[in-house]
Symmetry: none
Subunit: 209 residues, 4 copies
Amino acid sequence: MRTREGNKEEAILRAAIEVFAKHGYHDAKMSEIAEVAGIATGSAYLYFRNKESILHRIFENLWGNLHRQLADVAARDDLDPVEQLEAMIDLLLDVFAGNPQLSSVIVNEMNRLESSGKGSFLPLYEKSFDLAEQVVKEGITQGLFNPNLDIKVFRYFFLGGLRHLVHQWAKDSQSLGLNQIRQGVKSLIKRGIIVPETRMGLGDRSDKK
Amino acid sequence: MRTREGNKEEAILRAAIEVFAKHGYHDAKMSEIAEVAGIATGSAYLYFRNKESILHRIFENLWGNLHRQLADVAARDDLDPVEQLEAMIDLLLDVFAGNPQLSSVIVNEMNRLESSGKGSFLPLYEKSFDLAEQVVKEGITQGLFNPNLDIKVFRYFFLGGLRHLVHQWAKDSQSLGLNQIRQGVKSLIKRGIIVPETRMGLGDRSDKK
Amino acid sequence: MRTREGNKEEAILRAAIEVFAKHGYHDAKMSEIAEVAGIATGSAYLYFRNKESILHRIFENLWGNLHRQLADVAARDDLDPVEQLEAMIDLLLDVFAGNPQLSSVIVNEMNRLESSGKGSFLPLYEKSFDLAEQVVKEGITQGLFNPNLDIKVFRYFFLGGLRHLVHQWAKDSQSLGLNQIRQGVKSLIKRGIIVPETRMGLGDRSDKK
Amino acid sequence: MRTREGNKEEAILRAAIEVFAKHGYHDAKMSEIAEVAGIATGSAYLYFRNKESILHRIFENLWGNLHRQLADVAARDDLDPVEQLEAMIDLLLDVFAGNPQLSSVIVNEMNRLESSGKGSFLPLYEKSFDLAEQVVKEGITQGLFNPNLDIKVFRYFFLGGLRHLVHQWAKDSQSLGLNQIRQGVKSLIKRGIIVPETRMGLGDRSDKK
DNA sequence: AATGAATGAGACTTCATTCAT
DNA sequence: AATGAATGAAGTCTCATTCAT
């Protein structure tokens, strides 16, 4: 028999990420994915039921890893909530840092997959952000985070902001570096953008509106 | 006044927003758009060159309006940068508030269009955020905003965060209200999430990294 | 608009019968059916959901007609059961006589459709033969038909026999004429094949087995 | 003795009959046949040139056996034509009785194979029915069978009728027993369905038409 | 001989766009 | 301008057959 030389499944996933990133999921052709993977078109179907399941697998792999690592961070006793949140930011950025094309695919197709409700990765995705939410809640309890923080708004704002930054970086990693993002985001989250002296007053005014 | 034609074009755009929001651009059928618009399939092509140009027109209309209004805010002498930024946030949220389906379309298709580089609205889009950037820069100059702020990171983080919040709101406006978003975002931007007392120390530590 | 010139649906059905007869349902290509019908391949799908539904429509049309006519015969008071049965045989043969290709399709695909259980024509098909069964039963009651007749066996034997004859005729109408079939079947049904004098004895012997 | 090879070939044929019966020839997959046969997909091609040749072999085996046995019956001096015909009917039914799935395959695919003209079994198939025809002719000569019998019509009617009965039995052997078929067919052939007293008159009338 | 992964031709079907009326 | 039937290009997926091991 012809044995599997190399890991075809892995090769298909790599190729799919490349092609999805280049054309977007809908305009990506199975024949091109197969070509990039170095196999015949039909062979892709030995490893994946159909085109959609390739996309799903990409997300499953990503969120499977990410959730595991985020859970590790959330479980660490040696870090306070602030440090845990920073570690989570680093984690997310590190994952994307290694693969700009993957970042593009994730960012571009996430919304549609989320809305479709399909994809076995969705529970892990939700749980990942639940973990972050827990950290924030714990931070509030410990008096480290702003007690008036709207956790829901923060969650979505934070996720969307990070995602868009990664997207920009994936498009042009020259003009926007990952470490720049890393520092900037941490600073934004912690301080906001207003200088300390001014902030209290402004905050009050804003709250009164 | 070309009332009839104007109305049809408007009807097609409205219908397209509805159908794009429901199925996504790729899975939206011209025949369904025409049906919703109350015209024959072929008639849509009297008003738009093709399917893609309908999408482009939607974006052009949105960013045309938005840019004009943002420019107005940027031009106001009676507001300081902090107030201008708040006004811009309100503006963005107000636009989306009136049309959740439009919000869905914008959020879901923006990335792809941006990456494709096509679309005459892109310059307006860029300029819109340049305006916001100017306000922030001015705020820094006036000593109102954090001088260490990474404007680029802030720009993308802020846009992405807002977008994702709107997206969530468009999906389920019950569990996440627009005013909640409005307050939450302003608070986040201004304060970050760390309580004042704690922040300085943490901020220092973080900055030293 | 481009109006329907001629009856495209009818043309497709005619073409499908021709192509199904030539290659069999499975090896018939939609592109060839469309070509024979004088339309573009995609146009066939304006009239039929898919390939299978074309086949179903052919059967529906046939059995719809046939059932209606058989019901008319069954309702006639001026004919005794023997004459009704003969009229039914004539009916079946007349339908096929006009269209050998239709006969081929019916004969070749009937079994598979029947087994699949799909096809809205199946109830009519069953009812058609119920009608014939009623005639036979009435014949027995009136003492015209052999009271020992196994109606179920007769029903399937008769149908299968007629079908196969039609099939042979469809393949080669030269060497086996429809009128020949007509007479032969009627004679077979009425007399069997054994000469009268001999029959009683043989029949007895057979019955005793 | 090539036991291993012989067994595999046999296993493939058995498996093919099972799978052909379940899905029909066209929808039967070589991989499923191989799986049922307990071999690898590719191994099937060591024993059969392709899928079609498996079907052909099934028919060759059947008609080879059948023809040999029918020839034996035809050669028996101790039976008169009536008895020979009955024996032939028993023979056909006995073959099918042992294997409903084989019956299904034969009944469903026979027409197509016959029409295609391919298959080395076709001569044997023809000869088998020539044998039956000879018996009938001999019966006529001896004055046992109806001299006006249209042999050709009888041949196809008889074959088709028997085939359809077997098909029904293969689908549902509960509601239609083989012995019921056996008796019913013999009775039909010999007597027809009209009662003796009535028949002469009706027959005359019919013949005059 | 046996394997079963790999191949790739080919068909169905969809739908943006065209065009005769 | 309006229609909507007609077009036909193109992509996904299947599966009989091959072939390297």
